[in-house]
Symmetry: C2
Subunit: 482 residues, 2 copies
């Protein structure tokens, strides 16, 4: 381990991140909303901490190795979540406690979108902007993480993309190519954000709301500037724009990269993960709409409108809302909630287990049945037309098992804090899948649960975003031994 | 497929099974409890149906193949569960509906132990005997299924035992050796039952209760002749005897077979599944007892007594009770319930996913972490000192994935019937793991849920007992095509 280099990297990161408090600072001055000084202090604090961590080791140079990659990746999120707490604590409104501020900040960075805040409509504009911007920046980090870093670290079968998917990264060393790739990906991400914001604005949102919601839409984040979330606008046009950009942002950004570089949509059509994703979403919609109508929950038109929106926002793990799906009848709350376990495609800003993994697990289930019928046949599992290596399949299974185990451990921990069964079950799901809203007590916000529960769920969000193994490796004795 | 042979086998089976109504018939005459005629009619009906199915095809001979094995295995349980309904429907008390009788009968045969009945203490003795006996016979069937049939069919990685465990069956054809093996296994099973019954009797049970409870103990069944289950006796001695025999019956009967043939306990000590099993049980006990005491639920002595008993009865998937664990504080109900997912060892009468599978999944999880640290190392997964083949590991993963999927589908189906979240979640778990009691509305019995829910849960019990794939293969188009 090269702790000097790690300190240098994180120091630079913090100094850079301190600059991101400038936009909310300007918003605060513009609206004169009383939070200007909080943002100025946050800027100085963050820059100062970064500077102190960078100064003594600024000349150290070492080639970073995979092992350092794990540590930097985990610290990246922790350090940014920590420094992200300053404005929430320093501003008089909301003036959060450290626990609440950390939860909110990490929830933003990981694009989970679980919130401890209520009364959003009465917060300073700058704080609202800042929350939305946290998710947007987090989304950027996630794309680089998902497209470049995790595949390189070999987490949970994601090395699949290095060899088998036309992604931008086929290299296994932490080289300057990350910077190059990152630039291209961020450019795409920025374009999507602008397109989404313009769409919202044309559909009737204010400029402030349009930008804010475009941030949390392309980041699959789900934060909103209103307590009623997107339901505040009560506009079918805005909802359809949101549905479109949520779906686009749930696709592998490697595909967007390819399309942008080759000026061609051909790869979208050939991608089997994408096909599976749309089949799952389509299937979910076809179950939801009739169930809403037949239980007399809504009229036909409303069933279509609310059904599509809620299914897409939950299944993509965005977590906006126009209706409280946790109150929908019979199996619908649980069905929608289960869809979030599938989540977005690999290499997207979405959460969950990722479509490609579910697809591989499904294909192996089918293969097992065929093997029972033809015990001696050799049946490869394929993505598109290429067989997937056993190594990748094992990594996917390992991921699946650890996901289930993490779920159970976290749920038991929450139950130990005194939460009820439904709340504990859904809070873990909402955080591990980086979805945001749960069922029961955490259907609309996380303000009423204990501090202990908030810390457990903070850990859960981080585990979900880092695909568990990145964090798990760090606590394994073998990692520190060798 | 050789439907003639299948009809002949099932016909013989029914004629044989009809004889098992003789003991309850005698019990009924002895106690003059009014159910004599019901059992006589059941005997004739069952024998008659068997005879009619056997007569036209009695001379047909064909070598049975693996494919026929799937069909016979599934029909075996369905046909026996069906014919097991007669006494429940024909006897004036309880005089169950067909749905209830089928649920109760299947619950007996699969040794699930979920019951729709209340007021057990007021039922005819013969009906009580009959229920206990159903579980005992079911347990016999399960041992043959688990030790001989499923490994041969290659279900869920259980072929492991053919090659790698010193089991009695290493052959892959449906030969007369099954009969031989079955005889030895049943002999062991009978000895265990007798030992258990004598133990109960010495500890103070009546002869009737001792035999009845020994039936459901060694079968890991959990039916009782009293509404209060084993709690009726309020005897620490009886509970410790039950704990001992539940643990013994949760071990691989292949090990018992080996010990009996070689007059040696050496294999018990070397078996790594057994070690893992006791570690899991021990760990569960070490969590349960302090949690009971520290939450002021019981005194120290009671915490130890109820903690050990309830943990063992739930973790082995027996489902007796001396205390209502579903009312225990914080995480305990869910913790105990989760233990049932692990269940007994492969080749036992226990339910759940089986210890060996969980052990293999755990070992692979550890391997994944090591692989992330040493990407190029070759790390085999071992049981004892032998590496496990990738083929077996894949089958185990396939099983795990299908288990989770089945769970979700069945839970959604139950929610659609209007059950609440906790009841649906736990009812599926209790039936899929062949445990019996659940949480919420089904904590003590299943009498209050709808008929539709009972049928869904009947299917779930059968799926659990047949390790899902046996049934899943039958509904796959590929099975019928080739
Ligand atoms: K989200
Ligand atoms: K049971």
């Amino acid at each position: 381990m090269h702790f000097n280099v790690i300190a240098r990297v994180l120091g630079i990161l913090l100094m850079l991140f301190s600059l991101t408090t400038l936009p909310p600072l300007l918003v605060s001055m513009w609206y004169a909303d009383g939070a200007t000084q909080a943002f100025a202090s946050a800027l100085l604090l963050t820059f100062g901490i970064g500077f102190i961590s960078w100064l003594p080791v600024r000349h150290v140079r070492h080639e970073l190795r995979t092992r350092d990659g794990f540590i930097i990746t985990v610290l990246f999120w922790l350090v940014l979540a920590f420094s992200g707490t300053f404005p929430f604590m320093l501003a008089e409104n909301p003036g959060l406690s450290f626990t609440d501020a950390f939860f909110e900040s990490l929830s933003g960075w990981t694009t989970t979108g679980a919130t401890v805040m209520t009364g959003l409509d009465h917060l300073p504009q700058s704080i609202l902007w800042y929350r939305q911007q946290l998710q947007w920046l987090g989304g950027m980090g996630i794309i680089v993480l998902a497209v470049a870093v995790l595949p390189m670290l070999g987490i949970g079968g994601m090395q699949l993309f290095r060899a088998e998917i036309p992604g931008p990264m086929k290299d296994s060393k932490l080289t300057p190519r990350i910077t190059e790739t990152a630039k291209a990906l961020w450019y795409i991400y920025l374009m999507l954000t602008i397109a989404c914001a313009v769409g919202y604005w044309l559909a009737g949102m204010s400029v402030f709301d349009a930008i804010g919601h475009s941030f949390s839409t392309v980041a699959i984040g789900g934060f909103s500037t209103h307590d009623a979330s997107l339901g505040y606008f009560d506009s079918a046009a805005i909802e359809m724009i949101a549905v479109f950009f949520m779906l686009v942002s749930s696709l592998n950004f490697g595909l967007h990269f390819y399309a942008w570089r080759n000026r061609s949509l051909a790869h979208f059509i050939r991608d089997s993960e994408l096909k599976f994703f749309f089949m799952v979403i389509g299937g979910g919609i076809l179950l939801t709409i009739p169930a809403l109508y037949l239980t007399n929950t809504y009229s036909w038109q409303e069933s279509v409108r609310y059904g599509i929106f809620e299914l897409v926002t939950v299944a993509t793990t965005t977590g906006f809302s126009t209706a409280d799906f946790s109150l929908w009848p019979v199996f619908l709350p649980v069905l929608l909630f289960m869809m979030a376990f599938i989540g977005g495609c690999a290499g997207s800003t979405g959460g969950g287990m990722k479509v490609i993994r579910i697809m591989l697990i499904y294909k192996q289930g089918i293969r097992e049945i065929h093997r029972l019928i033809h015990p001696n046949a050799i049946i490869p599992v394929k993505v598109g037309k290429r067989p997937v290596s056993e190594r990748v399949l094992e990594a996917v299974w390992g991921f699946f098992a650890v996901y289930v185990l993490t779920y159970m451990v976290m749920m038991l921990a929450l139950l130990a804090t005194g939460l009820d069964h439904v709340t504990a079950f859904s809070a873990v799901g909402a955080c591990l899948n980086n979805l945001g809203p749960g069922l029961g007590e955490v259907a609309s916000h996380y303000g009423n649960i204990s501090d202990t529960a908030k810390w457990i769920l903070s850990l859960t969000m981080l585990l979900g975003r880092l695909e568990i193994f990145t964090l798990l490796v760090l606590v394994s004795p073998a990692f520190w031994r060798s």
